[in-house]
Symmetry: D3
Subunit: 250 residues, 6 copies
């Protein structure tokens, strides 16, 4: 067999930085839109998963990525996976940790699902915070009753093994066109899912929180009829009003 090389480990080391759960929680209180803006300002422009949308009533989460990489099914491979060769598809759902989001790289494939209501319920029971995939989920009606945010590109009732084989757990993957390292922080809301490297998480949380405060203040002004030209960005006077308000409230 050919010699395998991977930069996953060295890359993790080079990116460095972990962050406490408190930062994850703070990120979860900021909107995806605001987080994206603050990531842009730090020079990160490719952090939003395209087409990955909430599929039930639970639309908000923040957690660390547990990643699962899937490849196209192939009949000779399907014959042995789960029969002698372990199914990582099962292992992912069975071993997820509390506070983790399961991110399944499904290559954008929409012709079969990465899981249904029972697997998703198992995820929730273990303390998983979300199921995120750029493929499909199944059991859409029953998924409505699962107590877990489910983000996908769509739904298809065909089962996992018909189109996928799970090859690796906790390696870097793509999902919705974004590179996701295991342990990256994911935040989801109605708009979709953003990926935040832990090394800059606290910085993003801080600037994000500040922006949301300011934006809320501006919004009240604009809704009250203050022209955009004065309020957004705020002119000196409105900025001063904001600073005063801020001192009292934060």
């Amino acid at each position: 067999m050919e010699e395998v090389h991977s930069i996953a480990g060295p890359l993790q080391a080079a990116l460095g930085g972990d962050c406490p759960q408190s930062v994850v929680d703070r990120l979860g209180a900021v909107s995806v839109g605001t987080l994206i803006q603050n990531l842009q300002r730090l020079g990160l422009h490719q952090q939003f998963m395209v087409g990955v949308e909430p599929r039930n009533a639970h639309k908000h989460f923040a957690g660390r990525a547990m990643t699962l990489r899937c490849l196209p099914a192939r009949e000779d491979v399907s014959k042995v996976v789960g029969r002698g060769v372990e199914s990582l598809h099962r292992r992912a759902y069975e071993t997820i940790g509390a506070g983790q989001a399961l991110v399944i790289d499904a290559r954008g494939e929409m012709g079969g699902a990465v899981g249904g209501d029972i697997l998703a319920s198992g995820l929730a029971a273990r303390g998983g915070v979300a199921l995120v995939t750029d493929g499909a989920i199944r059991d859409l009606p029953a998924m409505q009753a699962v107590n877990l945010p489910i983000f996908s590109r769509g739904d298809h009732p065909r089962t996992f093994g018909e189109v996928h084989v799970a090859m690796d757990l906790n390696v870097p993957v793509q999902c919705g066109g974004v590179l996701v390292m295991p342990g990256d922080i994911l935040v989801g809301d109605e708009e979709g899912v953003v990926v935040i490297p832990p090394a800059i998480a606290e910085k993003v949380a801080e600037s994000g929180e500040e922006q949301e405060r300011l934006d809320s203040f501006i919004l009240t002004k604009v809704a009250a009829g203050i022209p955009l030209r004065d309020a957004f960005p705020p002119n000196e006077q409105i900025r001063a009003e904001y600073e005063a308000w801020r001192k009292q409230h934060v």
Copy 2:
């Protein structure tokens, strides 16, 4: 004119099997996800219509297919259809039978609609159980008030004759990438529409019902914290519990 050949008749005969309405009703009580899984087990992997989704609040139905085949409009043809040559588009809506679902093969064309609120209301008034198409419907706001499940790939207000000509009624068609024979059983729910050949309908109903019972039982276990590894599929103990429960309830 060229000699016409069709295998529609011989094929119907070879596929054989009809099934009583009671089986259709039982299929309608099983989810599309479960039905697809049971069709897969019988070797049928191409039975789910891709992209065909519910457009109003009525999302559940089961019925037999009345099929309508549409082809692209052509100006010389449009001039005579409905003026000397019968409009099968009208005939379909006007003659549907009770318990039937009208399946319109629209070639995935989204630039014009196969019907609006008045036609759909006529369908409902005759006892039709659903309008299913891989094209568009129109009058989306008014369709919300129609008492009939409406499944389509989307909506477009352009009228039928601008893009379609209806060529045949009750011939085999495709819809959403699935072959549909007239008389096939269609079941729809939030996930979409599945096509079930009558010859295996009873078998699918039986195994589907059994699976839904078992899955519900498993789900309560998983939600209660029993690990997926033990509960899904159930280990010996949980299987025994289920069998006991099953004896009491079915």
Copy 3:
């Protein structure tokens, strides 16, 4: 620099016709589906924006188009726009007139947004009646709270300047595949957005109103079990009933 030529002015003059606000209001009371049918009858077959859908709870509007043309961002251009060269993106939101709908030609580009909740609130505060684009909007969760109909092809949190540069205000544009002249009348409902040339607006309003009356009447008949063949289009007897009813109610 090359000599610029444009037919925008002469074309406006040749198309002619303005219409009072009362006609805009009447158009807003007719459904998009009905308006499209009446435009078809007048020989206009390309008036519906493809893929442009409502994104919050405000789904109905009628107004005159203020148009904004965007082109792809280019780094040398982005450097000067807003710094020496005016940002028309800002001007559009800051100067919209009461009764106007801001139509942003985004070339169908979905990788960045044309505006978020603050800009949209500013639009509403000035009396704008809608934000319409064939691109994306951002701040989807916050957009739910904005008191303005928002129509777009989707949402993406990336900010405007990452993908767009606004080049012209109030020139003819395309949006969703439809030519929109500044001042054209736009009507939106759950189905999407239709573009109506002012020169024929009154005619369309009249025939549209009449059709809606008749269709409502027919619908009660069809729902009551009168066959489509008799009721749609109405036979002599039902037509007579309608005319009697009409005399009493209009």
Copy 4:
């Protein structure tokens, strides 16, 4: 089984008109571009197959359509077709007449082929003039050596039965988004394939021939430096020159 209705026969009768082989030959001497223009002038705007392109060195043909309608493969159906139920896929290739083009409606499906080099050679051996499909062909290298124009949307080596079942022979079909009646005249060149109803074939041949003559004449003028403004369309003087030249050469 449901009652079948088709307007194929009445429609053929209503469209009427056949044309001698000499007209087919004349049409084959006109370019597809010119034919489309002349069809437009007669009010037919939907006659060009989108995406259907020549796949070997034989790019020119004219012939009458023998049509084959394919539907998506389904496992229960595939089991009986060719085993008890006739394969129309085979019948089409085996019975095509001299001067006919085999038009296979493949629903735009590119995941499997409608034929390879042996079937295509059989077509040529019987005097067939072209293989035209909006699906894929296979054996692309060997197809280069087949003495027959082959037009398709692409190539894929998967065999017919993996994705298709042939349902009807010589019924109206769509191909590349165009309605094709059996017996319609098809003309192909480097640009693609145009469909011409026999009832207007002679008219189209005549005006097409005249246009090609005039265009050739104009082209020599333009290439010689006569401004487009004078030559295209020709002003009085150039028109007179042409008429003189025409008298001598036609």
Copy 5:
């Protein structure tokens, strides 16, 4: 009518910089691939037209952009353009200057053409250096004989007025997803078309020429078996060899 605003003029002024024809010629001697790399190094990452490919044997050109902006056809507009309101489509072809490339923004629309062999010949006769569009061209067979590079996204025989109306000449446009200012320099080869702002044209020409020299030198080394690791980028020794060679040859 609404007040029109445009930043086209101020933007041209702010971007500044023109360049002599000699620079255009030098750019034309560098490959598109090399030009893109050198534009990237200057911070310009969006300069390659996606999907715009050569359609005849003439694949190399360099010239300045004359731009034409097209919008979707609309029946009320089509009635007056060319009849009272000037056709800018015609004006573009009739007035192009020597050394100019006609760039037609066709919105990526492939359902109709921006020109055929006669118009393209007229372009060539006036000294135009290329026809470039992100739409379709027509008369594909005859286009082979036209003595002008033709770049498009494809071909379709439908005529211009069926899908387009030309609105402006020499305004900024997009083509293939790239912003093109009138007067921008376009270079085309087998790979496609790149857009170069005049203000940096000389810089790009210089660095591009140098890179092509070095790359050619490296290529001979690599082909001769020198490992990529040593030759690309060149190590000290090979760099020295190159410098020596360069001194002798440039």
Copy 6:
């Protein structure tokens, strides 16, 4: 960091089977179309790369897969790869073995290239037999002169690092929708690329060779006018003729 799991190794072991170079060579003498048919007969239906086509004059190869997995570029990652963290993109080209085909999983991404003429020449110089990717290549004109088969989905001049980061070498990947294990045998011709598991390679070679012999024989018959019905598949008499011919020639 999370615990990594992979089934790549166990899967390789379970699939088993290697094959001598002589078998690779024999496979290279069979057409892709024939190989696909023989893989289908062995139950493997997903072995053809969709959209991956030859880009220069070298269209035939057979070799073993060296695989490179690319993920989307991310600014924080791009900063360290090649600067502290090794570039596997470079390593792949620099270490490929004789007889190997470099297969680059580019996720179907067409907005940047996986390599140009210098890298490809380096590949050829080391005895690599092909460059295969479902992304783009660059330097299209210069690639024509490279002495190596190049298969891709298209070309784009943007450089690798703008859109990709190479994460792993010699892990299982997807390419063109097919699962490729390191060491799998790839065969390419005009039609595209097929993936053959080594464990069944000899079987496929044998049946493929036999089929090509028989098909060639049949083709001469069909071209000579023997009806398809008799010759394809061959009836008893033609089968006997073939067996006689075969005895003499193989």
